[in-house]
């Protein structure tokens, strides 16, 4: 029995077959995509979504996201020095708290974590995980520049005054010595990232109290300078511990 006459249309059977095939293909692609999404740890496409999920996982209210950076992103600091993000980071602020979300290998449920720090009035330090940055400092060997890698202990400073154009940071860190514990300042410059947000990339040469984040609880001195070079602000405080 012929499916159709020569002068007839192909008929509803072909239309039905097209619909059926497309439905089956869509369902299979959807299932495969879902399976791969599950296998990869439910990755989210943006840092904002990643931080939102971390907030919900930790039973925290949503914060206002103030800064994000991608894994592999390069940040050019002062001349001759650049740092790379070894992790993706998203920082949110709310009610005197800074929420620092970090992720390695994408914003998955396995590779992401959250730290919470207190934030006060005015310039406030927010430590980032020590493995967040790796740096390259350009040095000159006579006439030829070459890169010197360094390990960077990163720190964000939030709520920085707009009129500041330059800043320095001193952190007093305990170091073992022959005559007992002594302190020595680690100094670095600060680099503005966005409005009110600056980055300090401390070069960590020695092990400290906490191998993960050596500066927690350490005293610091922040100095900010205006365009005329004059001291705008000198602030002493303590690097906050994680809440």
């Amino acid at each position: 029995m012929r499916e159709r006459t020569p002068t007839g249309r192909p008929g509803p059977r072909r239309g039905w077959r097209v619909f059926r095939n497309l439905l089956v293909a869509t369902l299979m692609f959807g299932a495969l995509g879902g399976f791969l999404w599950v296998r990869e740890g439910y990755p989210l496409p943006t840092a904002e979504l990643g931080l939102r999920r971390l907030e919900r996982q930790n039973l925290l209210a949503p914060s206002e996201i103030v800064w994000t950076a991608r894994e592999g992103e390069r940040l050019d600091l002062w001349e001759g020095t650049a740092v790379w993000m070894d992790q993706s980071v998203a920082v949110g602020v709310r009610d005197g708290l800074a929420l620092v979300g970090r992720a390695q290998g994408g914003w998955t449920v396995w590779g992401a974590g959250l730290s919470v720090f207190p934030v006060g009035e005015g310039p406030s330090p927010v430590p980032l995980p020590r493995t967040t940055l790796s740096g390259i400092r350009e040095e000159w060997d006579g006439e030829t520049p070459y890169g010197v890698p360094f390990s960077a202990g990163p720190m964000l400073f939030l709520q920085m005054p707009e009129e500041a154009v330059r800043g320095t940071l001193e952190i007093w860190e305990e170091q073992p010595g022959e005559d007992g514990a002594r302190t020595a300042p680690l100094e670095c410059r600060l680099h503005p990232l966005e409005a009110g947000i600056w980055l300090a990339a401390l070069e960590a040469e020695v092990t400290a109290v906490d191998a993960w984040q050596p500066y927690l609880g350490a005293p610091y001195t922040l100095r900010l300078y205006g365009e005329d070079g004059g001291l705008l602000l000198e602030q002493r405080g303590t690097i906050p511990e994680e809440l």
């Binding site: 002068t7 192909p10 293909a25 299979m28 971390l54 919900r56 039973l59 925290l60 959250l114």
Partner: protein, 293 residues
């Protein structure tokens, strides 16, 4: 008529199907038209037996009408887009099947194998504590051997409960699935109670509860004693709740938790969480009556 007869059957068919752009349709229509011409030619030869086969087919083709007119009508009926869509849908299905087999198949088999391995895991002492099974009796898996003599600590399960209380949060539902109370008695007569329980968080797979939440749970018992969370108390020399992640299923996550050093006679133990405006508590009754406040 004479003009139409100039077309042989193949020529007529070529003209009549030339405007059907979708090749499979063109072939199918051509085949059906050809069969129709052959049927007509047979009928003509039955009426005129002296007519040759070729001539009969030519006349049959002529009777089909102007091939160009027929071609235009057929082209209007056989639009190519449905044909191309049909082909594309076949390719889509084939591609979906191939990708599923290549990417999903081996992975699914591996996941099933891994799940089988997890389910076959041997119970640990932690499991027995939670289940309230006295594995220290003679003959049990943790019974002291004859050469070990009398044990320094005598461990006795007292009670196993499955509290019904649940906590509904925005994204999670929490409950204590099971709790077991043990007596630990030393040779010098000192006794304290230890409590082991499992906290379950029902959740969706892409939003698992952060283990840090369970590690921030504090405790209080009916005697007024307080217990720090794992994050606060570990290594600080204060009574605290010990928390470890214990896996779970697709829609839940489980945490093994325990406290030690409770006073004998404690009637209930309450888990408490209070952070950033989120407060909840779960009470584990430690009496047969199941009371607790």
């Amino acid at each position: 008529m004479e003009e139409r007869q100039r077309y042989g059957p193949e020529g007529w068919l070529d003209l009549a199907t030339a405007d059907i752009r979708f090749k499979p349709d063109r072939a199918a229509v051509r085949g059906e038209l050809k069969a129709h011409i052959e049927d007509q030619a047979e009928a003509i030869r039955r009426r005129h037996p002296d007519l040759g086969e070729e001539e009969a087919e030519r006349q049959a083709a002529a009777q089909m009408g102007d091939p160009e007119e027929v071609g235009r009508a057929l082209a209007r009926l056989h639009r190519p887009w449905l044909g191309y869509l049909w082909r594309a849908s076949q390719v889509a299905v084939a591609l979906a099947v191939a990708l599923t087999l290549c990417l999903g198949g081996p992975e699914l088999v591996e996941q099933i194998r891994l799940r089988g391995e997890i389910q076959e895991r041997e119970p640990t002492l932690s499991d027995y504590y939670l289940w309230g099974e006295d594995v220290f009796l003679p003959g049990g898996p943790f019974a002291p051997g004859p050469e070990e003599g009398r044990p320094e600590i005598t461990r006795t399960p007292l009670l196993t409960v499955c509290p019904e209380e649940t906590v509904e949060l925005k994204d999670f539902r929490l409950r204590v699935t099971q709790a077991s109370l043990w007596s630990f008695r030393w040779e010098d007569g000192r006794e304290e109670w230890w409590l082991f329980w499992e906290l379950e968080a029902a959740e969706v797979p892409w939003l698992p509860l952060a283990p840090e939440v369970a590690q921030r749970v504090r405790g209080e018992d009916s005697r007024g004693n307080t217990y720090a969370s794992t994050l606060e108390g570990h290594g600080e020399g204060v009574p605290y709740i010990l928390t470890n992640s214990d896996g779970g299923g697709l829609l839940s996550q489980r945490f093994r938790m325990s406290v030690s050093g409770m006073e004998p006679g404690t009637e209930w133990f309450r888990l408490e969480y209070d952070r950033d405006g989120v407060e909840w508590s779960l009470t584990i009754p430690l009496t047969e009556r199941g009371e607790g406040t």
